[in-house]
């Protein structure tokens, strides 16, 4: 069952992966995944399981353009990130990597360590007490990118950017 990891407000990219652990700084056989939240939440990298969900406060991912912050989360196979507001560059990097990001504030409804069910297609989280939480639907073109596993596979397959409705 996916586990909920709750984070605070203004979680910045230095907290997600400090610059000192940029892939650029690591030896070739090391994986940036190991440094996800290495200082902000030292137990995270060892305990996170595929499909786990991050629930955060506003402005998640603020700070630098470093894509290895969402990359560390993708390599950890995080199932979704849910926050009332995402920092812009983080949001696009996560979308490009195919990590579903939902804009919602679930910090009152979910607690750190909760075990839930999650259906990304319908955007539904099932709590242990039976209550279902419905996430706001993303734009259709974003879902297209998630379905392809990111913008690179999307581009390779379609030879174009997603159709944004223009």
């Amino acid at each position: 069952m996916p586990r909920i990891w709750v984070f605070g407000t203004d979680v910045n990219t230095d907290q997600i992966v400090p610059g000192r652990y940029a892939p650029y700084m690591l030896s070739a056989d090391d994986d940036v995944r190991r440094y996800a939240f290495v200082e902000a939440r030292p137990e995270f990298a060892g305990a996170v399981q595929p499909g786990d969900i991050l629930v955060a406060g506003p402005n998640f991912g603020c700070g630098s353009s470093r894509e290895y912050a969402p990359l560390a989360l993708k390599r950890s196979q995080v199932g979704a990130i849910i926050a009332p507001l995402f920092a812009r560059i983080f949001f696009r990097n996560a979308l490009n990597l195919g990590i579903p990001c939902f804009t919602a504030d679930l910090r009152e409804q979910l607690a750190d360590g909760d075990e839930v069910s999650f259906d990304v297609a319908s955007g539904t989280i099932g709590r242990a007490d039976g209550q279902a939480l419905h996430l706001p639907a993303p734009a259709a073109w974003m879902r297209e990118v998630w379905n392809e596993g990111g913008i690179v596979p999307f581009y390779r397959r379609h030879g174009r950017f997603p159709s944004t409705g223009a």
Binding site: G19, A28, E39, R66, P70, L85, A166
Partner: protein
Amino acid sequence: MGQTFAEQILSRAAGRTVSAGEMVVVDVDLVMMHDSLSPSIIETLHTELGAERVWDRDRVAVVIDHVAPAATVRQAEQQQQVRRWVAAQNITHLFDVGRGISHPVLIEEGLVQPGMLVVGSDSHSTGYGAVTAFGSGMGTTDIALALATGQTWLRVPETVRVQAQGRFQPGVSSKDLGLWATRTLRADGATYASVEWHGVPFMHWTDRMTLATLSIEVGAKAGMVAPAGLTHSVPEWLRVEDEAVYSRSIECDLSTLEPQVSVPHTVDNVFDLGDIGRIAVDVVYLGTCTNGHHADMVAAANILRGRRLAKGMRMIVVPASSESLAQAAADGTLNILLQAGATIGTPGCGACIGRHMGVLAPDEVCLFTGNRNFRGRMGSPRANIYLASPEVAAATAVTGYITHPGELAASS
């Protein structure tokens, strides 16, 4: 209906009239990539996207600035690979070790001009707004796609307007206006938006870069200073339109603005200098794309002239570009800084991201003229970083604690 700068520039780039909220696929004028992300961008471009060449070798700028010169063998190897790639792709614009930080360098080189759309592998690419270009920071994948196609996707942003009135008091400068705006708007106050800065026609473009680079610290996609007073040639279509719609407007009276200090560990945690108490400082660091320009070194030198660093103080000066360094050497600024006891680093990003040239030890306190004071940004996560202007930096270097520049002028 009038258009904001973002709407004007993105309309031109999209080839049709667009307004805030629309998703657009646009042609970019220039792609900037630096040493820190280039290895992964190059790999994504060739291995994942399967592209053999960049779309236009004249419209790519590669800058070795983040760890320049290299501090480890691995970095040296990666920079070597980047140089080889630049040669193999026959890319026109490579700015190697020592030329300086991408944002000022591309403006000095004339590659970024008013009205352009520039994407860069660096969040402070908003800095191109110093000359009213739409500069936006993106990650590895976006930059690789832009290299392959010459295009990117964007949501046309709403615009937050910052209007300045009046002139600064002595010892107060563009950094204080920038920090005041982060204090007023907060770290997420312009997320997904563009920031327009108005009312500063007296500023040189490097002072405008202080404002433009700080725009990302309120979450902005781009931050553009109004072109009035620029010495660059501004395209006729790029102008302030009366009917433009702003999502929010704030006003700052520069004549009453006090020196601002951003206190650890978030950029928007800003106070008037007079309200933070006596903070002892171990190291003053003057540099970065925000405040490492020639004018910033001059502002510091004006305070340091004939003075010495406080006992136990280190002062590290890392010029933003070789051009700034050369100017400081030519007009005697450098000598004043050296005589005061400062040390000078290679033009580039220096310790701004904690990789070399002055990283901080646990419990050290740094007065930094840069743009981020996040925990761990400049080295140890136990260090404390305060952000302020070059004037405050110089005054602090003399007294050993965070000091209002006026305090020194009065006593000398």
